[in-house]
């Protein structure tokens, strides 16, 4: 019987032979990471276990990205813990503010996530690296602390759902719209405990940045991970990023999927997920009149260079509405630099946007754009839960970068067609 990519990757990382779906196994971890929020707790666990050295100093990193550059004294203390631990342990990779970025954009960019690997991160958006054909799984701090000590994690061999996309994308529709559409179809627990494999002609023709966006939001359907088979484009992406060997793993043609969903993407419009769950997606044509106070373009979901290029195409020679704050956050320093060199930052500033250093910041109501009571934001981030971006009575509408940029210009949630 055939196997899925996820099953094959787990098999390659565990001592038990002939693993089956549902087996609880221990697997060797190729790369593990945490951030300034989850890291301190994981380090505490690592110490409680009684370990002195991490399992492999080349296979662990800490990324201070959530409340950085530190927003207050307590956050500074948290960052200090991961900084000092990284130094103490002599970690090969530690990314200080200035060389840093949002972990899920930074780790692939630095060539630290590779096809065929088993990756665990103490952050729910860890599946982002699944776009490279890795099995990347989000865990909590105690799990991560145990991985730091042992280099192993206990896992249940998961079932996989295959999502097949065919057809040509409509104008202004990207990875974010595909994943919001998918989550709206299956619900916020539609893939709970399962791996979401994304395949089909549309995915094959999709850029790496769009693939990252899709895998990034697997968790918003409860997914254990999101994964896309590595192909020529993946190899092209990795060309200058690593000289390490890696394995390209594909699902067998007769692999067993617990469910298969097929979508014709030519029916999919730009999507907007309404408060307060990511599965409340609607096509832009059905959104109606929703005034906004803020638009955010960034995050681990949509802070890639391609997202910024789309925003710039829409914002060029336009002005942000006088009642709207447009906050643009390149996900990494490299993306920031690329955006500068391509002239995107000039377009943003001339339009009246503010540009933030790379940070998770407003996505989780941390800093750099927290909402007041009653305020509404359209945002390219990944969650619109109650109070996610600030006051419990504020509202977040999720979209891709095209809708977020267009909405900043009109002052209400808008299709890019209205302004371009």
């Amino acid at each position: 019987m055939g196997k899925t990519i996820a099953e094959k990757i787990i098999q390659l990382h565990c001592a038990k032979k002939d693993i089956k779906i549902g087996d609880l196994i221990k697997a060797k971890v190729d790369f593990a990471f945490a951030n300034d929020i989850t890291g301190p707790l994981a380090i505490d666990v690592f110490k409680q276990i009684g370990s002195e050295r991490v399992y492999d100093k080349n296979k662990v990193t800490f990324v201070p990205d959530h409340f950085t550059p530190n927003k207050d004294i307590k956050s500074a203390e948290q960052s200090k813990i991961i900084r000092e631990f990284s130094q103490e342990q002599g970690l090969t990779n530690y990314f200080e503010v200035g060389k840093c970025g949002i972990e899920h954009a930074l780790i692939p960019e630095k060539g630290l996530a590779l096809p065929g690997q088993l990756i665990v991160g103490a952050d729910s958006h860890t599946p982002t690296s699944g776009a490279l054909g890795a099995l990347a799984i989000g865990v909590g701090s105690t799990d991560l602390g145990a991985v730091l000590a042992t280099g192993e994690i206990w896992l249940k061999v998961p079932e996989t759902i295959n999502f097949i996309y065919n057809g040509e994308l409509n104008k202004w529709v990207g990875g974010k719209d595909l994943i919001l559409y998918t989550i709206a179809q299956i619900g916020v627990d539609g893939a709970n405990y399962k791996v979401m494999e994304f395949s089909g002609e549309t995915i094959k023709n999709l850029s790496m940045d769009n693939r990252f966006t899709i895998c990034n939001m697997a968790i918003e359907a409860g997914g254990k991970s999101g994964i896309i088979e590595a192909d020529a484009l993946t190899l092209e992406y990795l060309k200058d990023k690593t000289d390490k060997n890696f394995q390209l793993i594909k699902s067998d043609p007769d692999a067993q999927y617990v469910k298969v969903f097929e979508y014709n993407v030519s029916n999919i419009e730009p999507q907007v997920a309404f408060p307060h769950l990511p599965d409340k997606g609607k096509p832009i044509s059905e959104v109606g009149e929703i005034r906004i106070d803020q638009s955010v373009i960034g995050s681990c979901t949509n802070g890639h260079i391609e997202d910024l290029r789309i925003a710039a195409r829409i914002l060029k020679n336009n002005k942000v509405d006088s009642k709207v704050r447009l906050i643009i956050i390149p996900a990494t320093q490299q993306i920031y630099l690329d955006a500068m060199e391509e002239g995107l930052l000039k377009i943003f500033i001339e339009a009246g946007a503010v540009i933030s250093p790379p940070t998770c910041g407003p996505c989780l109501g941390g800093h750099m754009g927290v909402l007041a009571k009653g305020e509404k934001a359209v945002s390219t981030t990944n969650r619109n839960f109650v109070g996610r971006m600030g006051h419990p009575e504020s509202e977040v509408y999720l979209s891709g970068p095209a809708v977020a940029a267009a909405s900043a210009i009109t002052g209400k949630i808008s299709s890019p067609e209205e302004v371009v």
């Binding site: 009684g50 409340f67 909590g140 206990w154 627990d189 254990k224 969650r383 109070g387």
Partner: protein
């Protein structure tokens, strides 16, 4: 071990942002986290609950962010266990790992109301609703997960594992 307490009933998809808002994640101090548990859902939740009370919830409890601060806040606030129709994956692991007992039972959810008194007998796999004079079977945990629970959480379990490896 028998767990006894009053029910605090919640619906589906209670996310970890509402359990502990990110604005309080600049600390790992358990008491500080506990003070803000469920604050955006019910400002006075922590004041209202008594030590040992039980959360009963619908589908997908603990969805969203992986923050372990969520089960830590619930445990430190004095909640003795959570019974839900289902749990989000990362929350489930986190709760087991830190030793916060969780159980799934759809029937119990359907037949229990706010403030009912429950008695949970984990070893027998039994939950009694004392107020309604009803009994429910809960789904049993896989053996491996029971091992983590009996060790007292993943820290203890891993510590024992590492000792065992050293001796071998």
């Amino acid at each position: 071990m028998i767990i006894k307490g009053s029910v605090w009933k919640f619906g589906d998809n209670i996310d970890t942002d509402v359990i502990i808002p990110a604005r309080y994640l600049n600390t790992s101090d358990t008491q500080e986290l506990a003070a803000h548990c469920m604050e955006d859902y019910d400002r006075d939740f922590v004041k209202k609950i008594k030590h040992g009370d039980i959360i009963v919830a619908g589908e997908n409890f603990g969805c969203g962010s992986s923050r372990e601060h969520a089960p830590i806040a619930i445990k430190a606030a004095g909640i003795s266990c959570i019974i839900a129709k289902s749990f989000a994956r990362i929350f489930y692991r986190n709760a087991i790992n830190i030793g916060l007992p969780i159980f799934d039972s759809t029937e119990l959810f359907n037949k229990s109301e706010q403030s009912d008194i429950l008695e949970v007998h984990p070893q027998q796999g039994l939950i009694k609703n004392i107020s309604k004079d009803m009994e429910f079977r809960m789904n049993s945990m896989p053996e491996f997960i029971q091992e983590i629970i009996s060790a007292g959480g993943l820290v203890e379990y891993t510590r024992n594992e590492m000792k065992r490896r050293k001796h071998n």
